[in-house]
């Protein structure tokens, strides 16, 4: 009897082992290096976790980085994401009001810097894009930007053994499709975080402002933080800041998306982080210096526009001394740990 029961036990164990092995059979040897998304101390959580269905891995990040820097995502090979989003400009397009696209075209809006995108509920100046993952579809397929089609991009990538290897490392098998392409790029762009400026060091007690910067910071808190609240230096709302309308562009901003007159001439409030290196400013890049921007708020706002933001009805009075101090403070938002970080740089 005892022998029989041991035999039964043995058979049972073999069956169980077989069961567990078959359950694990489809997993294969794929072992990616999982990464965690680190929220800087004192920052709010992102409004939604964009990585909940796109689990961060080192392999996914590296694939996303390669794609970000690869001109093959464009029709003629000349335009990578990084062409208009340069690391030394905090991933804006340095010194360009409009960017160059396919066949010598100009874009119609200023390329924004890319950082802290995981906190941004809606992307683009008019909030047209509702998820970071689908954003690259815009520039890749726009005839005045990268002018390519997604299936053509996939065709090119599939021919490249390096990509087949990297897609496998990132996703477990060598399938290359649009979803994986987009998720990988989001792993790169979504983890570019800017939280290492002098301002941040001051907040952490690792540095101190000069008297001018300190004075500028106080002015910022009373005059600017209504739309640019810390620590992200934007509330991501859409507002009309009283720019005169460029008749050649006739850009109605947020209204283009919502079709609501109330949204006429409203654009997303940009973050002020890295503002000193991401000029020119505004949706159409009309101002090339911080001085011009502040002068706009002091004296240039077109107050007759019905959708003008209520905080700007009386413009923002500032003396010349205050203007200068404010500029000193804005320079403390430049994050060289972002612009010099080899993790985000092309090899």
């Amino acid at each position: 009897m005892r022998k029989i029961s041991i035999l039964v036990l043995f058979v049972g164990l073999v069956w169980m082992a077989g069961f567990f092995m078959s359950a694990g059979k489809h997993e294969g040897p794929w072992k990616p290096t999982y990464l965690s998304f680190n929220i800087p101390a004192g920052w709010p959580k992102p409004p939604k976790d964009i990585f909940i269905s796109n689990r961060l891995t080192e392999e996914g990040f590296q694939l996303g980085k390669k794609l970000f820097y690869d001109g093959r995502l464009s029709k003629d090979g000349n335009f990578a994401c990084a062409t208009c989003h340069q690391q030394y400009a905090a991933f804006a397009n340095y010194d360009h009001d409009f960017s160059h696209g396919f066949n010598n075209a100009f874009t119609k809006r200023n390329a924004p810097p890319l950082f802290n995108l995981a906190w941004m509920p809606l992307l683009h100046w008019d909030g047209a894009i509702n998820h970071l993952e689908v954003q690259p579809l815009g520039p890749i397929t726009s005839t005045i930007e990268m002018a390519e089609q997604i299936d053509s991009v996939l065709f090119k990538l599939k021919k490249d053994s390096a990509y087949r290897r990297m897609f496998k490392a990132a996703f477990g098998d060598a399938t290359i499709n649009s979803q994986r392409l987009l998720k990988a790029i989001a792993q790169f762009t979504g983890t570019i975080i800017s939280a290492g400026s002098k301002y941040d060091k001051v907040q952490r007690g690792e540095a101190s402002f000069t008297p001018s910067e300190q004075n500028g910071y106080q002015l910022f808190k009373t005059k600017c933080s209504g739309c640019h609240p810390e620590p992200l230096f934007t509330d991501y709302s859409f507002r009309n800041n009283g720019l005169s309308v460029n008749k050649l562009l006739n850009d109605s901003g947020r209204m283009r998306i919502t079709r609501d007159n109330k949204d006429s001439l409203k654009f997303k409030v940009p973050s002020l982080r890295n503002v000193a290196i991401s000029f020119p400013y505004m949706h159409d890049g009309r101002f090339f210096s911080l001085g011009e921007v502040i002068d706009h708020y002091r004296t240039g706002i077109v107050t007759a526009q019905p959708s003008l933001d209520s905080l700007l009805k009386k413009r923002i009075p500032l003396t010349n001394m205050e203007k200068n101090n404010l500029i000193f403070f804005l320079h403390t938002l430049t994050d060289s740990t972002l612009t010099h970080n080899p993790r985000f740089a092309v090899h």
Binding site: S5, V134, T141, I150, A186, R259
Partner: protein
Amino acid sequence: MNNTNKWLIVILAILLCQQVMAQNNQTQNNQGTITLSFIPNVAGKPLVLNDSSYTNPFDEIYQISKFRFYVSQVSAKDKQRSQKEKNSYHLIDAADPASLQFSFSLKPGKYNSIDFLLGVDSVRNFSGAQTGELDPVKNMFWTWNSGYVMLKLEGRSTASTALNNRIEYHIGGYSGAFNTIKKIHLDANFEIVAGKSVSLPIKTDINTLWQGAHDIRIAASPVCAIPCALAMQIADNYSKMFSIIK
């Protein structure tokens, strides 16, 4: 001996589990199948792309080069219950005969309706990169303003004032004031028998697009390619395009 008994119970429990799992598989085999097949036509005339001419209720003549729409969240209902198709997303494309029909399994019994969304449910419009039927390479996802095109009709009409007399209706918008997702309810009495398949042919009349709740004239509106009031009106009209052929 006590010890041996314990082990015997464990082994028996394992074998029992195995039995239950096998039974579950069998339950699936005990289901029947429903096949929905869409039959695109224009007021009863079969749809022939790029060839046949059709006349809308305002005597405007048009040809069709492209006709596609999304069907999602399909379910079959009887008085008590509703059975949903899993991962229920279908791009119906007149140019691809295989796409015009799809099947899913149902428990045996009598049903009295088929329900689905004409379009892609709102959540999938803002949940990032999708794949399969929802892959953006299908050219049904807007890149300038995130969201799916729920229905696409393209062609030409002598009544059109647009470039090359084209007509182009890309109907989309998934939220707020411009939600073009339509709940479709079709009365359908059918019985599912285990291991058997039932087919429901669904006449899909494109000519409903022009008239119904609103008059849509090609001369006035040859193009609609953004979420807007016109798109809502067109969607109101074409939401009546389905009827089950008895």
